[in-house]
């Protein structure tokens, strides 16, 4: 099976190690991974702020970039939601619409790809840490990814899972919302960070680097010693190579 990594704008510029972890995990699972160099940003920042024409420009380039991909796997659930839910509407008719629909159908959030496409039932991963998880609103509500990520974490040996109170609550990122409505966003992320700290977890795992950037930024400001990692990083770091011990 072949998959193209969708590293996202944030992943490219800010979190390259997350894309690397996705490549590691997918290759370990026997997937051949490529990286279409034409990709930049899906256009979600513009679209969610009302700049539909600007978003369409980004989307067109994005569709071009992944034209030949068998599957597209992303480190961010909200970017996948953008492709799946909003791309077809951005191109309401003709060949563009058909291309948008086709891309939407083969674009996956990382955990979704593992659960729904690869059908992963077990993982040779050991990760000795207390871990909690932020589900991310668009991943949960727009993609319907609800139990899958916890099920994957449940396959990891040594992992001490700490459920997060108010897990369904938004972290307050919301794209430009974090700047346009900064004071409200700050209160939301403060509540989220406080709940994360209360779990006693050493690592906050997520499926969307924008939410994790937000919560991580607040945790750091609070002086909390909680590392923030994408699920792929936990799996890549803890993968037992040749019967090794994992992390």
């Amino acid at each position: 099976m072949r998959a193209s990594l969708m590293v996202t704008c944030l992943g490219d510029a800010l979190f390259p190690e997350v894309g690397e972890s996705v490549v590691t995990v997918l290759r370990n699972l026997g997937v051949s991974v490529d990286f279409p160099a034409g990709q930049t940003c899906c256009g979600q920042p513009a679209f969610n702020s009302g700049y539909v024409d600007d978003a369409r420009r980004s989307a067109r380039a994005f569709i071009d970039a992944f034209e030949g991909s068998e599957h597209v796997v992303s480190i961010s659930g909200s970017c996948v939601a953008m492709v799946r839910h909003h791309y077809p509407g951005l191109f309401p008719e003709g060949r563009d619409h058909a291309r948008a629909e086709a891309l939407a159908a083969r674009t996956w959030e990382f955990s979704q790809f593992l659960s729904d496409v690869l059908g992963v039932e077990s993982l040779p991963v050991t990760y000795r840490a207390a871990v909690t998880m932020h589900h991310s609103c668009h991943t949960m509500r727009m993609l319907g990814v609800r139990e899958g990520p916890e099920r994957l974490l449940g396959m990891v040996d040594g992992l001490d899972y700490r459920p997060l109170a108010r897990a369904q609550d938004c972290c307050g990122f919301g794209g430009t919302f974090a700047v346009k409505m900064a004071a409200i966003s700050a209160e939301m992320v403060e509540r989220k960070a406080a709940h994360v700290q209360k779990t006693g977890a050493e690592v906050l795992v997520g499926l969307d680097m924008s939410c994790l950037m937000n919560i991580g930024g607040r945790l750091r400001r609070r002086g909390a010693r909680v590392a923030v990692k994408h699920l792929a990083q936990v799996l890549a770091d803890g993968w037992r190579i040749d019967g090794g011990a994992g992390r």
Partner: protein, 477 residues
């Protein structure tokens, strides 16, 4: 109010709410308890998603055929001996109610809680005509005394503490009342009883109007609705024109979800179905019944991409589930409707130019959409309003330029690559640890409360290119 003044009012109310630690704690508790109860009440239904589908279809059908149902409702109310007035706007609605009140004549009006009468600012008009207006829902009574707008669609005094209500009632009564809910409610009941017995006019809203029988349905918990609509000689019900249902079967669906979604009750304490004024032989009821169907911008929404908002049954569930409402409360949004539904309906009814900030007062998390019993696609509607705001030039020039520039970058991968490289190079001396505690420009709004991750020196695409795709360091097998 001008757009700028409205934005300043919004910002001031947000700051006030965020600065009130007691209120913040209370809003968190209120939402947690409300959401747990909501999930439980909805979960009791055999198949809640099927019920939501049914309500969504019912409401969409009614709204799509509204002209037909308005005619049917009107004919049946009149056949029952009532009168229907179709008010094109708030002023027409106020004038009609004033005419009815003057014709009685009226010294005192008792009111059952109604958001639509808040929308048309009816109380002020009646008071200006020399009448005493008494809100009789306990929460509405409280905020009438404090002179505030309702804080929540179904819980107007949600923001006030027991002690604040004690102080308020003590001042009103001239007595030293204790901070005990029973005692305070008893005082309010005595006070309101005098008003009920002497009012010439009773005004209510209408949760639903049933077209097939010309019936106004009121959903209440305190009994004040029934007192307001039966004791005075005249009853005027004022309701949004979209709040019709075809028939009683539809009411079954709507009621089942309204009380569960709104107050987590299987059914409210009172359901009143009012089909006409008192008939010969009736023991009570008003001699006259008037129903005001208010348009006030609603029919303008029909047939547009915003039509699904008219499915709303004003249960308030979206407020209870919205994390933004949970931070800023009800007074920031606008005078009447708050929460996600307020952020959508207020710009539609009063003009987007006057309320351009409201569609942006959401993180688009979708909790409201999950909670809505009528499946109003609130986040989609917020997105549509944002697109209209941009189209209408309501966004700041700096944002417009920024978004255009960003789109240019994203459409040219080579330029993107260079820009990321420059950003990464610039960030290194500024943020040696890869994190900024204080950022320049607009991003200072981010760093006011959060550390900011900065671009790395070597982007993912560079690492991929330079390693020939072996970015996993051979860790992948």
């Amino acid at each position: 109010m001008t757009a700028n003044a409205e934005r300043e009012r919004f910002d001031a109310q947000v700051a006030k709410a965020l600065g009130d630690r007691r209120l913040q704690d209370w809003l968190e508790d209120f939402q947690r308890l409300g959401q747990e109860a909501h999930v439980e009440a909805m979960g009791e239904l055999d198949d809640k998603e099927a019920w939501r589908d049914a309500l969504s279809e019912l409401r969409a059908h009614t709204v799509a055929n509204l002209d037909r149902y308005v005619d049917e409702f009107t004919a049946n109310v009149e056949a029952n001996g009532g009168r229907v007035f179709f008010a094109g706007d708030a002023a027409e609605a106020r004038e009609y109610v004033l005419d009815v009140a003057r014709g009685i004549p009226t010294k005192r009006v008792v009111k059952s809680k109604s958001m639509v009468t808040e929308e048309i600012e009816l109380n002020g008009a009646l008071e200006a005509a020399g009448m005493e207006v008494v809100e009789t829902d306990l929460g509405a009574f409280i905020v009438q005394l404090t002179g505030e707008d309702p804080y929540h669609i179904i819980a107007p005094a949600l923001h006030l503490t027991l002690e604040q209500v004690r102080d308020l009632f003590s001042r009103e009564s001239g007595e030293d009342l204790p901070a005990e809910p029973d005692v305070l409610a008893a005082w309010a009941r005595r006070r309101l009883r005098e008003k009920f017995m002497t009012a010439e006019l009773g005004i209510s809203g209408g949760n639903f109007g049933i077209a097939s029988t010309g019936t106004v349905v009121l959903v209440t918990n305190e009994g004040n609705g029934r007192m307001s609509t039966t004791l005075p000689g005249t009853h005027v019900a004022v309701m949004g024109v979209e709040r019709l249902l075809p028939d009683w079967e539809g009411l079954d669906t709507a009621l089942t979800l309204l009380t569960r979604a709104g107050t987590s009750q299987r059914i409210s304490t009172y359901i009143s179905a009012i089909s006409g004024p008192r008939r010969d032989g009736d023991r009570d009821g008003p001699d006259e019944l008037h129903v005001v169907l208010l348009d006030n911008g609603r029919s303008r929404i029909l047939g547009t991409k915003y039509e699904p908002v008219l499915k709303c049954i004003r249960c308030g569930a979206c407020l209870d589930h919205c994390p933004v409402y949970g931070c800023i409360g009800g007074h920031a949004y606008s005078r009447v409707y708050s929460g996600p539904i307020g952020a959508v309906i207020t710009p539609l009814l009063e003009g987007l130019d006057a309320h351009a900030e409201l569609p942006y007062a959401s993180s688009l998390c979708g909790a409201c959409v999950d909670a809505c019993p009528a499946r109003v696609p609130l986040t989609e509607l917020l997105l549509a309003l944002r697109a209209d705001a941009v189209q209408s030039g309501l966004e700041q020039q700096s944002w417009r330029a920024g978004m255009r520039g960003y789109a240019e970058l994203t459409a040219r991968p080579a330029v993107w690559d260079a820009a990321v490289r420059v950003a990464g190079a610039l960030a290194q001396p500024l943020a040696p640890g890869g994190v900024l505690r204080s950022a320049p420009g607009l991003l200072d709004k981010w760093t006011a409360s959060r550390d900011l991750k900065t671009p790395v020196r070597r982007s993912f695409r560079r690492r991929w290119r330079e390693s020939g795709g072996r970015v996993d360091d051979g860790r992948g097998s």
